[in-house]
């Protein structure tokens, strides 16, 4: 069952008198119990999607979409209070830099305790409620994998290491038992061991708690092991979207192929001093978007047709947006 359905989401902002589109007809769906990866270079608008879903966009942005629904409820038309209610219970967001996302002047215990939703607390008197809150927090912190709960919980954020902070943020997100967890590049800058721990945690949560995850990242190696499906974003547009296995075996869009190839593989038959595979050029700025397909100037397979914007087509739930997709006979 689809829980989050985004179709043709467009985000525009006025800059120096000109309306520029930061996100152009982005489509994304998330099913129950699914881990979807959202991949793209920096500047492609991944964080904007997260903010659009959670409603944290500043009022200058103009949001239009054919569908932006959560379990059938239209998110754009809702009042702020309803949106907040959904954000509190059903959707949880984890941000990039865990230390910055925690209040530096409050102990970790206090921050955790205030995130517990009122429905889970038992007890009439406030000491009973406090004890019940504390026990819920302890349970979740253990589940998340923090060993020394007693020691960590009484410290301040700047006194614990980054991975404990990140696990703590995950615990705070989980305490309200959400249905969807949006992780905005949570493992950025982490060393491999901690990254593996966090990713293993996500997989475990997905299996045991029916938690869907939207994992936004540009670390292909990490997510290709874990994700069920993937959406590739380039410069504000979805270029390809589909099941992970299919995309890994047969990427249809040249950009996806370039992304897959650019992940360094340390295979023994790599020739010394061979060039790393990458596309030439950089992502264009929003003020100077190329007409037609946005990958046009950089694409090695570009042809005359590519000055027109390709429409979205799909083969077996594998959508792509290209005039000359790979592995497919041209239409």
């Amino acid at each position: 069952m689809i829980i989050l359905d985004i179709k043709n989401l467009t985000l525009e902002i006025e800059s120096n008198g000109v309306l520029i589109k930061a996100l152009d007809k982005v489509s994304l769906t998330i099913q129950e119990n699914e881990i979807r990866a959202l991949v793209g270079e920096s500047g492609s608008g991944k964080s904007l999607i997260v903010r659009a879903i959670s409603g944290a966009l500043p009022p200058q942005w103009i949001v239009t979409a054919d569908r932006l629904t959560w379990r059938g409820q239209n998110l754009i038309k809702m009042t702020r209070a309803q949106r907040q209610a959904i954000m509190r219970r059903d959707i949880a967001v984890i941000f990039q830099d865990p230390m910055a996302a925690l209040d530096p002047s409050a102990k970790l215990k206090d921050q955790m305790l205030e995130s517990v939703p009122r429905e889970f607390i038992e007890g009439r008197y406030f000491w009973q409620r406090y004890a019940s809150r504390l026990s819920i927090c302890h349970k979740i912190l253990h589940k998340v994998g923090i060993q020394n709960v007693e020691g960590c919980i009484n410290k301040y954020p700047h006194e614990v290491s980054a991975d404990i902070c990140q696990k703590f943020m995950i615990a705070m997100a989980l305490v309200s038992q959400p249905t969807l967890l949006i992780a905005d590049d949570p493992t950025r800058g982490m060393e491999t061991n901690t990254k593996k721990q966090i990713l293993a945690l996500f997989t475990r949560l997905n299996k045991t708690r029916n938690l869907s995850i939207l994992f936004v990242s540009h670390d292909l190696l990490a997510i290709s092991a874990m994700a069920h499906s993937m959406t590739v974003l380039y410069c504000g547009q979805t270029v390809e979207s589909g099941k992970m296995k299919a995309m890994r075996r047969r990427p249809l869009h040249p950009y996806t192929k370039a992304l897959m190839d650019s992940a360094p593989s340390f295979s023994p038959d790599l020739k010394p001093k061979s060039m790393l595979v990458a596309l030439d050029g950089t992502i264009p700025t929003l003020q100077h978007l190329p007409i037609g397909c946005r990958l046009g100037p950089r694409c090695p397979r570009a042809a005359k047709e590519c000055v027109q914007m390709p429409t979205e087509r799909s083969i077996n739930q594998h959508t792509y947006r290209c005039h000359y997709p790979m592995h497919v006979e041209p239409v």
Binding site: R89, D97, A101
Partner: protein, 340 residues
């Protein structure tokens, strides 16, 4: 925590020591005989001064006896009045303290909440009104403001008196030096009239001093609140769906007030300067007026002792504020004066 307290104790003690040394050294810098500058006259018959004035002592012994005299309450005699300085100062200090305390309290009570209001409505209309009015308010020269208030309110409209602490009709016995406390504690008749009269005398001086302090606190709080609202943790708290009131009272309040405390500490010295100027204009019988009279009359012992006392009070208050802010703020970088 104990280490912080000990460190601040040390710091305060060192600072006080340097101030006393400065005060001692001034006796040598001021024109005239140093011994006479220290004591006020050249015949005093208390033990430390006797030792001081004997010819054999060198400068270090003189300093030691000076410290002894200070601690014993023998502060010498004023050039102008010939009376012991200790009595004079102790009579006048509470008046200055009263004025300063009331002015700071009003500035804080009005400035900080309004600063919060302005910061939460950052760059909206209400914020712009506060910003422009606070900028106008703290550009006023304090002496001109006091004169304007006297002109408009005392002379033109005749609503409030323009000098002194209390009308001469009332005779309030000295209890603590704080006039409102004294009136409430004493048992003269017409207590209510005396109280009203004292309050009327208090309004204009307090207003002049708190006007500027209020503007500074408002701006500092607003800037701090605006900075806090931009941070990632407030935004993530909002995204988590925490109710606005919780976010405000538990996170914004504490994080916004913590940087304001050092600003408050620095403002104290400006406040004391302003209080001294206002005392002269309103003939408010306090230390500031007395010191300025002393400089007109070149009353060196009075200047020295008065300066020492005011500096000591300012230093103690500022150091305690810094100590408190260090203790309650978990995020302050623990560097101070002794970082290697």
């Amino acid at each position: 925590m104990i280490t912080t307290l000990i460190r601040y104790f040390n710091l305060t003690f060192l600072t006080l020591l340097i101030l006393v040394m400065l005060s001692f050294g001034l006796a040598y810098f001021f024109p005239g005989d140093p011994i006479i500058n220290l004591m006020g006259t050249n015949k005093l018959d208390s033990q430390p001064f006797l030792m001081l004035s004997s010819q054999q002592t060198n400068i270090f012994m003189q300093f030691w006896y000076y410290v002894q005299a200070l601690l014993a309450g023998e502060w010498g005699v004023s050039f102008a009045t010939g009376k012991p300085l200790y009595q004079d100062i102790m009579r006048l200090l509470p008046a200055t303290l009263e004025l300063s305390i009331y002015a700071v309290t009003i500035a804080l009570i009005l400035g900080i909440p309004l600063g919060f209001l302005a910061g939460m409505n950052y760059h909206k209309k209400i914020d712009n009104i506060f910003m422009s009015s606070s900028m106008i308010m703290y550009s006023f020269p304090v002496f001109w403001l006091a004169l304007l208030l006297i002109l408009l309110i005392s002379l033109q409209a005749q609503w409030l008196p323009m000098s002194g602490r209390l009308s001469l009709l009332f005779n309030v016995p000295h209890y603590s030096g704080f006039i409102l406390v004294d009136i409430l504690v004493s048992d003269i008749e017409n207590k209510r009239f005396a109280f009203n009269n004292a309050v009327q005398h208090l309004i204009l001086p307090t207003l002049s001093v708190s006007f500027i302090a209020f503007a500074v606190f408002l701006r500092a709080t607003r800037r701090s609140v605006a900075d806090v609202l931009e941070t990632q943790y407030i935004k993530s708290a909002q995204t988590r769906g925490l109710p606005g009131k919780t976010i405000f009272f538990r996170h914004v309040l504490r994080n916004a007030l913590l940087p304001v405390l050092p600003i408050l500490a620095v403002q104290i010295s400006t406040l004391v300067t302003n209080v001294m100027i206002v005392e002269t204009i309103f003939s408010w019988p306090g230390i500031g007026d007395w010191l300025i009279q002393a400089i007109y009359e070149r009353d060196y012992p009075a200047i020295r002792t008065g300066m020492l006392l005011v500096s000591v009070v300012v230093v103690i208050i500022t150091m305690s504020l810094e100590c408190i802010s260090q203790l309650i703020d978990p995020t302050r970088d623990r560097f101070a004066y002794a970082r290697r």
